[in-house]
């Protein structure tokens, strides 16, 4: 490919992959059979120029490739503060990646679409939450691929043969013991997001192995964990003993080796971590925001009965960010209608962090997403209250923040 026989785009992509192989210290490249491209996020002229340069050179993906969120909801942006110039450029960037033959999934939760990889499959994924989910919850194998490299891997079908693609580097390193964290707290729908936020901060470079989970968490709780841990930290792989596929036992999670380090997590630590996710101090509320990572069908199913027959307060916006596919499935399942009747808006293909949607008068947010809670204060200059899904609905109805603290106080 480096000699240009597969065309100038493959040549350029391979030159970047080859230079990165040196950076990673890889002596060889290996094949992948799927890619997920996060380079889709439009930031400005540089991301657009990169995409259009590849497309103009005739780039084609060599393996099935899904696309992460873009910078614009093509159909819905006019309802928001997005400028026409931004919308036009972000749409051009979308088109460039579509022209390369990637599937227009436009979601940060590709693992909940037909792009879901298999256990052991070698893939090259971008998007921090998706990397952590694919590695940990599914047992597929990807390094932590950054924007601009993910598409080069997709075009060449090759990656440096290092790190989490191999078996040994997937062994757990940090033992995280939950100390007396009661079942009732583990069942709470905020628990895994809070635990992920905490472990992201504490794990550093190490692969954490969590011991002491006594519940069978639904997939969306593990999704929340992955997104939180990959936001507050750099977790690309975690093992939960008895839950994730490479951790049937502690010994298996550590591949028979001794942990490099061990920490204990108490209920008090979790309370502190949960408190950190809230940066607002009053009960004022401008907007409830759900869906980072993108809201799933199961999450729509959980939301529908909570909002049925109710109505969001006139002063409060209620936004769900999701994918085209999930919206369609929610509609078919009959769980979209009650959400819309409640007064919710749905944004597709993007999210409030990737598209400049929010009008400046939106100052205070409430969310059940640790990822939104982590990034919104810095990226959007807003203050955030973190709460459960039910708290978010109740607060939207009342027009001000209301949280049921009972599980967290008594635990």
């Amino acid at each position: 490919m480096l000699d240009g026989r597969r065309g100038p785009a493959a040549q350029l992509a391979m030159s970047i992959v080859a230079r990165m192989a040196d950076v990673y210290g890889a002596s060889e490249l290996m094949d992948i059979s799927h890619a997920h491209v996060d380079s889709t996020i439009y930031l400005g002229d540089a991301t657009l120029e990169f995409a259009e340069r590849l497309a103009a050179l005739g780039a084609r993906v060599a393996v099935p490739t899904s696309l992460n969120v873009s910078g614009v909801d093509e159909c819905g942006w006019r309802e928001w503060a997005v400028s026409p110039e931004w919308a036009a450029k972000a749409a051009r960037q979308m088109l460039a990646y579509e022209r390369m033959g990637a599937v227009p999934t436009w979601t940060c939760a590709p693992y909940q679409t037909q792009a879901r990889p298999r256990f052991g499959q070698q893939i090259a994924w971008g998007e921090s939450n998706a990397i952590a989910f694919a590695n940990s919850v599914i047992g597929a194998r990807t390094e932590r691929y950054p924007d601009l490299l993910d598409i080069c891997c997709a075009i060449t079908g090759r990656v440096p043969a290092v790190g989490l693609h191999l078996t040994e580097p997937r062994a757990g390193q940090l033992l995280v013991r939950l100390a007396g964290v009661p079942r009732a707290l583990q069942e709470d729908d905020q628990f895994f997001a809070v635990l992920g936020h905490l472990i992201g901060m504490r794990a550093g470079d190490l692969i954490p192995v969590i011991d002491g989970i006594v519940v069978s968490p639904p997939e969306d709780h593990l999704k929340a964990f992955a997104a939180a841990a990959a936001s507050s930290g750099r977790v690309a792989l975690f093992h939960i003993v008895g839950v994730t596929p490479e951790a049937p036992t502690i010994e298996a999670a550590f591949q028979g080796r001794a942990p490099a380090a061990a920490i204990e997590v108490t209920t008090a630590d979790l309370r502190d971590a949960r408190r950190q996710l809230t940066t607002a101090d009053g009960r004022e509320l401008d907007m409830v925001i759900l869906g980072s990572p993108h809201f799933s069908l199961a999450e729509f199913r959980a939301l529908a009965p909570l909002v049925a027959g109710r109505r969001a307060h006139a002063r409060v916006k209620f936004l769900v960010t999701s994918s085209r596919l999930m919206k369609e499935e929610a509609e078919k399942a009959g769980v979209l209608a009650p959400v819309l009747a409640f007064g919710a808006q749905i944004t597709l293909d993007t999210c409030i962090l990737a598209s400049p949607m929010l009008p400046p008068e939106i100052r205070t947010l409430m969310t059940n997403s640790a990822k939104y809670a982590y990034y919104a204060p810095s990226l959007l200059n807003t203050r955030v209250t973190f709460g459960s899904l039910a708290d978010c609905v109740r607060s939207a109805v009342e027009g001000r923040v209301a949280r049921d603290e009972s599980v967290w106080e008594t635990a």
Partner: protein, 145 residues
């Protein structure tokens, strides 16, 4: 304290000089760096509010979002990127951003990997020069030599 010389690993080679901006916390550029201004905006980060444009940024590693690389590429294009980035160990994200900045704009920035002990000798305000070999000179009084 006099000059100090560190032999780092030039992950992406290049020359740069400037005032050091140092922290012991990893940084996500997405949600952490405003490429319009070169300012660090992650409120969870000790360097929040500091301007890194044209300075020698020393952080142990990247963290968080995969989009860190794209933000850095935008910063290079906008002229608001750090003059060089020093890390503990090799950070592929910073290296990639520099390599793509080279491919797209012919403007790579040096990325140098240090040991934890070498990194610990750096302090904000030092004057630092980075050579293509990975050699780093720092002077504690913040004066160019």
């Amino acid at each position: 304290m006099g000059d100090r010389v560190i032999a780092g690993r030039a992950v992406v080679p290049g020359d740069a000089r400037g005032e050091a901006l140092v922290a012991n916390e990893p940084l996500s550029f997405w949600g952490g760096y405003d490429f319009q201004t070169g300012r660090i905006i992650d409120r969870h980060h000790p360097l929040a509010g500091a301007c890194a444009a044209g300075r020698i940024l020393a952080v142990p590693a990247s963290k968080g979002s995969s989009t860190t690389t794209a933000v850095l590429l935008e910063a290079v294009r906008a002229g608001t990127a750090p003059a060089a980035i020093l890390t503990t160990g090799v950070d592929p994200f910073f290296a990639l951003a520099s390599i793509v900045a080279d491919v797209m704009y012919g403007k790579p920035f040096p990325v140098v990997a240090l040991t934890v002990e070498e990194f610990a000798t750096l302090q904000t305000g030092m004057w630092v020069s980075v050579a293509a070999s990975g050699l780093i000179r720092s002077t504690a009084d913040g004066q160019p030599r």
